[in-house]
């Protein structure tokens, strides 16, 4: 029995679309018959988010993106994040699952005193996708908050939130004083608050990790986006106990990353 003789193309299409993007790429190399089916729009449209047209239409990307073959569009969205929500958010797809992966830029966060020039400035850095990132000049109390509507994200997905930042050479206030990180879904019990040091001395363990784009990230927490998602998820980063001056932190944003399944 050869499967392509038993099953019509649209059945095979359906089956492939129920596997994964990675499997679909492999299946394209199986045989002639599979090649055209596994690369087809019918399959790859199923890997894109349901509202991909809406997302792209409301982004800064050219509408010609929508006329790409769906497989190419998928791949483009995995490797070339686009700016959405008026340039406030950065969007891409997580390539293994096709889930939505956002970063909330600093402009869309509520950073206390951010518009007061002697506390914070907005600068432009070439290694950030956003036009502007926020640079800390001097505060005594640090408070950065953000929130995202859950229906923006992929449903039935576990997400991890990361604070994405840099520290310049001329910095102080983060070496010995921990900041408190918190992620919680509005209306539910607050999750555990994490206490981390952003800039530990060399002999202490570094909790922040280096990213591929050259920035640092530190995990703020996790949450599960279920199916009834008319709520919002809220994030906060705070240091408001010691009232010591702080300086030299650059904030790119807060990234919401779909969690990799362990068996992938």
């Amino acid at each position: 029995m050869e499967i392509t003789k038993v099953l019509p193309d649209d059945c095979i299409s359906l089956i492939i679309s129920l596997t994964s993007p990675r499997d679909a790429c492999r299946l394209a190399l199986l045989s002639h018959a599979f090649n055209s089916i596994a690369d087809s729009n019918a399959v790859w449209q199923m890997f894109l988010p349901l509202d991909y047209i809406h997302i792209i239409s409301n982004s800064s990307s050219p509408p010609s993106l929508l006329s790409l073959p769906k497989k190419d569009l998928y791949s483009t969205l995995c490797y070339h994040p686009i700016l959405t929500h008026n340039g406030d958010m950065k969007f891409q797809l997580e390539k293994e699952s096709g889930k939505k992966w956002y970063m909330v830029g600093a402009r869309a966060l509520s950073i206390q005193w951010v518009d007061t020039p002697r506390h914070w400035t907005w600068i432009s850095l070439p290694d950030s996708r956003f036009c502007r990132v926020a640079k800390l000049k001097n505060v005594g109390r640090l408070e950065i908050k953000g929130k995202v509507k859950l229906n923006t994200l992929s449903s039935n997905t576990n997400y991890e939130a990361y604070f994405v930042f840099k520290l310049v050479r001329d910095r102080y206030g983060f070496r010995h004083t921990p900041v408190e990180l918190d992620v919680s879904i509005e209306g539910t019990a607050a999750g555990e608050v994490r206490s981390v040091i952003l800039d530990p001395p060399r002999n202490m363990p570094q909790q922040a990790k280096e990213r591929v784009d050259g920035w640092l990230e530190i995990e703020m927490g996790e949450f599960f986006n279920g199916f009834e998602n008319d709520r919002t998820v809220e994030f906060s980063l705070r240091e408001d106990h010691d009232d010591q001056p702080k300086r030299g932190l650059i904030v790119q944003g807060i990234e919401l990353r779909p969690k990799h399944k362990n068996n992938r």
């Binding site: 029995m1 050869e2 038993v6 492939i16 190419d72 791949s75 290694d127």
Partner: protein
């Protein structure tokens, strides 16, 4: 239903039956509510008035043989009962699909021709679970697929909109291989000095490429000394020496520039692997983008070349020491790793990324 069954049931209940005929000519009666659960049958009965008697039996599509029909009717018989809980239905479904792959395929096909979508979804999911995560060889075996893509087709260029140097090299390798194949076609009737291995698999290609990475130069290369030195180095690191030697004697001397030590690493990972095609496909998955060049013409200044070659050898050494872990790393995380990246700047010169530098 057998004649005996019908004889027993008929006098007791005044049920309606629908007459169905499968492609092999056999005809049977089925309880109306069960048969009507299939949209196609429902349509035939309501729109065309068929199925009310033996003479007007509904001709079922060819994909529905008696065995499949029986299975489908079992499914319908269970699910058409309104009172069942979701849990019961799920439990039934799980047991129902426990059958060999061949039957699952036939069942999907039969259910599809009867437009019975819930069953098509159920069987399709089961088949998807079977396929998931398997290598192409395994899948071909399960579904008896011919490996009928030519080497050429498998080596179609990957797309490279990110301008990833690894993809660029991979595409060059493919272009090179395609050129080779074409040349071989041309030279088919001409006598050649040494024997060549004609049915080269992708394995051979990749091992050849490994050897060639050591020999990499710009297209204008003519220094055979350097070539020999590197060839010697590579012999320590690869096992496909014969292939390398044969190819290097080739008159056309197709050489390539190795733009990225990582490519060498990635490609080398394919040598001797259980499934090189598997790597190629994972490469394709990791690096799907626009092809910007199919040609091998690139110039690079010799000093940088030396540096790259040293990096290649260094990686080869490292790779050979922790190969299985590297393999996993390379296959799984094409874009997410942090080792040294090479990339072309706008003006064509190579740049090395460090973590704190800008891209």
């Amino acid at each position: 239903m057998s004649e005996v069954d019908m004889a027993v049931i008929k006098p007791e209940m005044m049920k309606s039956y629908i007459w169905l005929q499968t492609a092999d000519g056999s005809i049977q009666q089925v309880e109306q509510e069960v048969a009507m659960f299939c949209p196609m049958i429902c349509h035939e009965v309501i729109q065309k008035g068929m199925g009310s008697s033996k003479n007007y039996a509904i001709s079922l599509p060819q994909r529905v043989n008696p065995a499949m029909l029986s299975l489908i009717l079992d499914y319908c018989r269970f699910h058409q009962v309104p009172g069942r809980s979701n849990k019961e239905r799920k439990s039934f479904d799980e047991k129902f699909i426990r059958m060999d792959t061949k039957r699952l395929c036939e069942l999907t096909s039969a259910a599809d021709s009867l437009q019975l979508k819930p069953l098509v979804d159920l069987t399709s999911r089961a088949l998807a679970r079977i396929i998931e995560g398997k290598s192409p060889e395994e899948i071909r075996e399960i579904f008896h697929l011919p490996d009928d893509l030519t080497e050429e087709e498998k080596l179609e260029p990957l797309k490279n909109t990110t301008d990833d140097p690894r993809i660029r090299l991979l595409n060059r390798l493919y272009a090179k291989k395609r050129k080779e194949l074409k040349e071989r076609q041309k030279l088919k009737n001409i006598e050649v000095e040494e024997e060549r291995v004609d049915d080269r698999s992708v394995d051979d290609l990749l091992s050849f490429i490994n050897g060639d990475n050591g020999d990499s130069k710009g297209i204008k290369n003519s220094k055979s000394k350097k070539k020999n030195r590197r060839r010697k180095d590579q012999q320590k690191n690869t096992s496909a020496n014969e292939a390398i030697k044969n190819h290097n004697k080739e008159p056309n001397g197709l050489n390539q520039v190795c733009h990225s030590a990582e490519v060498g690493q990635k490609v080398r990972a394919g040598v001797g692997a259980t499934s090189n095609l598997h790597d190629v496909e994972d490469d394709i998955f990791d690096n799907k983008n626009e092809l910007d060049d199919g040609d091998i013409d690139d110039e690079i200044d010799p000093a940088l070349k030396e540096k790259i070659d040293r990096e290649v050898e260094d990686f080869a050494r490292r790779l050979n020491s922790d190969w299985p872990e590297r393999m996993q790393e390379i296959l799984s995380f094409g874009h997410e790793r942090k080792p040294v990246h090479f990339s072309l700047n706008g003006n064509g010169s190579l740049r090395r990324y460090a973590n704190s530098e800008q891209r």
